[in-house]
């Protein structure tokens, strides 16, 4: 159900852009109005989400410790997996955000019997490393980032040298003209893999919602239309740049000659931007706020304050002694009141 719903949703989006531009001639709407709305929604939406999370405090210091704690001086602490200061936390977060450290740990388990549904006494469970999710996730995110950065060339008059370097690196694998970007292929492959694993791995399929298929298909649509534009139904870069520079300088103009594929591509990108803050995609911002990762395990060394801590009723020692004084005295346990 989730798949068909998502497929339908992406198809409808494409049709909206197609008919809107082709039949209704809403070039300005799809080329200017929607992109402005998308950017505004994205920025405001992300801020809204982050602020909303931020308004809820983190009452307790609850890092998930994945290594040796800071202890006696001769015991080697695992400063990245169990940080006890800010520097360590920064290192841990960097590993997490840049290299997906936790996903890198991924294991799969197998049972070494003919029928794994009958776990017998003599069965042995074997755990082995399973890096496919980590690998596909990592290359997907990095490719996507590089592609976004590459796109920034459309928004500047002069292309900065750093961006040129990135483009050259990305385009090292040259097949004809224009340069073929490795990231284009990688993003396509990794998204496809992420989609396929969602469908074929029973556990993942069972938990998947439309909200899981939709972004994958949407990104697939964005990648395909982008690749079509670059390598097949070539779009005039100069025209694109007129539009984009117009947008960033707040003097929007609609150049002639931008093909329908461009508008579809742009509309899907805009949809992604609008959808982003209100979906699971906000994990991009959320990961930085995860209290099991971004706190130092130092709550035994440094007081951690809960802003809403309140007094509670406890059974006091005097109440306790009141109840048991006789028995305590008899047993030779010291008491406060003779």
């Amino acid at each position: 159900m989730g798949i068909s719903f998502s497929l339908l949703a992406v198809t409808v989006l494409i049709l909206i852009a197609y008919s809107g531009v082709k039949f209704a001639g809403l070039h300005f709407f799809f080329g200017v109005v929607i992109p402005y709305i998308a950017i505004a929604t994205f920025v405001i939406g992300i801020i809204y989400r982050v602020v909303k999370w931020g308004l809820s405090p983190v009452p307790f210091c609850i890092p998930t410790t994945c290594g040796q704690q800071e202890s006696l001086p001769w015991i080697k602490q695992d400063k990245l997996e169990n940080p006890s200061n800010t520097l360590g936390v920064i290192g841990r977060m960097a590993l997490e955000v840049l290299f997906f450290r936790s996903l890198f740990r991924n294991l799969k388990f197998e049972v070494d019997v003919a029928n794994p549904t009958e776990m017998k006494d003599e069965s042995r469970v074997i755990y082995s490393s399973d890096k496919w999710l980590w690998l596909s996730g990592l290359i997907f995110h990095w490719s996507f980032l590089i592609i976004i950065v590459r796109h920034l060339r459309f928004f500047t008059e002069q292309v900065p040298s750093l961006m040129r370097l990135l483009e050259n690196l990305d385009g090292w694998f040259q097949i004809g003209l224009p340069h073929f970007y490795v990231t284009n292929l990688v993003v396509l492959l990794s998204v496809t893999y992420l989609f396929i694993r969602r469908v074929i791995i029973p556990q993942v399929r069972y938990i998947s919602l439309a909200a899981d298929y939709f972004p994958l298909l949407l990104i697939l649509g964005i990648a395909v239309t982008g690749i079509l534009m670059r390598y097949f139904s070539r779009v005039d870069i100069v025209d694109v740049k007129i539009l984009t520079i117009g947008l960033v300088s707040f003097r929007p103009v609609i150049p002639e000659g931008l093909g329908i594929i461009f508008y579809i591509h742009l509309f899907l990108v805009c949809t992604l931007f609008i959808y982003f803050p209100f979906s699971k995609l906000v994990h991009m911002a959320g990961v930085f706020m995860s209290p099991t990762r971004n706190l130092a395990n130092n709550s035994r060394m440094q007081r951690y304050v809960n802003p809403w801590n309140y007094d509670v009723k406890i059974h006091t020692y005097s109440e306790y002694e009141e109840e048991f004084r006789g028995k305590m005295k008899k047993a030779g346990i010291p008491v406060e009141k003779g």
Binding site: S56, T64, L72, R124
Partner: protein
Amino acid sequence: MDTKRADKTLNIDYRFPKTGWMDTPVEFKQGMFCHGSKPKDLEAVGFPNPREWSSKDKDWKLPANWKEIVLNGMKERLDKYRSFKLFMDICVRCGACADKCHFYIGTGDPKNMPVLRAELLRSVYRRYFTLSGKLFGKTAGARELTEDVIKEWWYYFYQCTECRRCSVFCPYGIDTAEITMIGRELLNLLGLNTNWIAGPVANCYKRGNHLGLEPHTYKSQIEFLLDEIDTLTGIKIEPTFNRKGAEIIFIAPSGDVFADPGTYTAMGYLMLFHELGLDYTWSTYASEGGNFGFFTSNEMGKRLNAKIYAEAKRLGVKWILGGECGHMWRVINQYMDTWNGPADFLEEPLSPITGTKFKNSKTTKFVHIAEFTADLIRHNKLKLDKNRNDNLKVTFHDSCNTSRGMGIFEEPRYIIKNVCNYFYEMPEDTTREKTFCCGSGSGLNATENMEIRMQGGFPRANAVKYVREKNGVNMLANICAIDRAAFPALMDYWVPGVGVTGVHELVANALVMNGEKERTTNLRSESLKLATESTEVTEKDKKQRH
């Protein structure tokens, strides 16, 4: 459940139901859940909606406005816990956690996949707290809050041991323990607890410990252990109770004082402290290091924990030493000072024997006994005869809470290696931060749910079995009282012939005490001769246990 049956087969069906999880009603299977809480236990601590009810009944007699209570409860907690709000929002359902849960591996029940356990709550969150859920309903993964949902929560939030293994593998650190804790808090608002948790909470509140031992009983229980030590070593130990002016107050999980094989660990504490001449006291008021309140609600956890600092203050001690316990140390490390601190009436812990300052417990003033003892050994303050543990081939189980909520890995290993000649590690994917739960943590160590305990403990037991076959391991060491209570049954079931011990029992076996008579047996009255197979060990263990 017959834990002695010959054919030990777990029939695990990893295939998924044809129906989606929201359309697959919860089925209460025998042996998988605990008895419901009793009204008297809830009344004892003032929990809401106490009443007679049974988890097996169709009608759970929920209060009339139950739905409002739950939704308000969720709203309140979304505003109080960033973890809760964030973890409701950012899961991408990548599935990395799915097969990391010992309950999923052991049962094959899809709702035991951490992601789905969280979705049980998340689906309700979407329906009532998000726009997409309100608009698109099921397509957006949202569902109505019904009585069946409450039952499903109760069934599955008490099939989670809050072990945090999933959280290690989650790319965003989503911690199912947080979700289970919130889920249980919500259930507690409706008076839905388990008897096995609510009972000890009530006991602990009034009498100071989970077992409900009154002060004189607590003392006489320890005196019984002193007699045993006397028989073994010829040394008479006279510890003090509730003594003002002691330098240190010692807090242990009450399970160690009361039940085998934890009692041997308690004997270990007593012998070690005596040998050191430590100026310390036990307390009958703060006679519980563990905290079953932590398994019901944040507030109850705080209420039970408060006694420790209160007692330390009343007795005027300098600092606190804590025994071997799992969730007790999660609480001390991550909650205690925040709840009940600042403990500014105490001093920064300093070992009176070695002069070591325990800088990592600067604010809580609470030192783990494994840190304390490791430091003693490092400074050669103990005379140890490792050979006295030669009948044991030891492996070490990292307890969930001390691993993933603290990170105490090397200290116990250092101690074991110094008191035992034979030590073997289990496979690395099952130890340290990746350790598997005993299957009985967070208040699940009852008897009526033995089936789920044996299934949930299966991954751990299987790893023990591996070192048993490879290295002849016959002793499973740990630093957790619930482990010591839960493992004997698990070992009997899956890996017969493996005993269970606390680390300080091993220490006491090896500890050469001043003026002791020649020891011919270990703490368990077993011959010190090298035993190739400790069958007699287990026979004796069994007798004591049953």
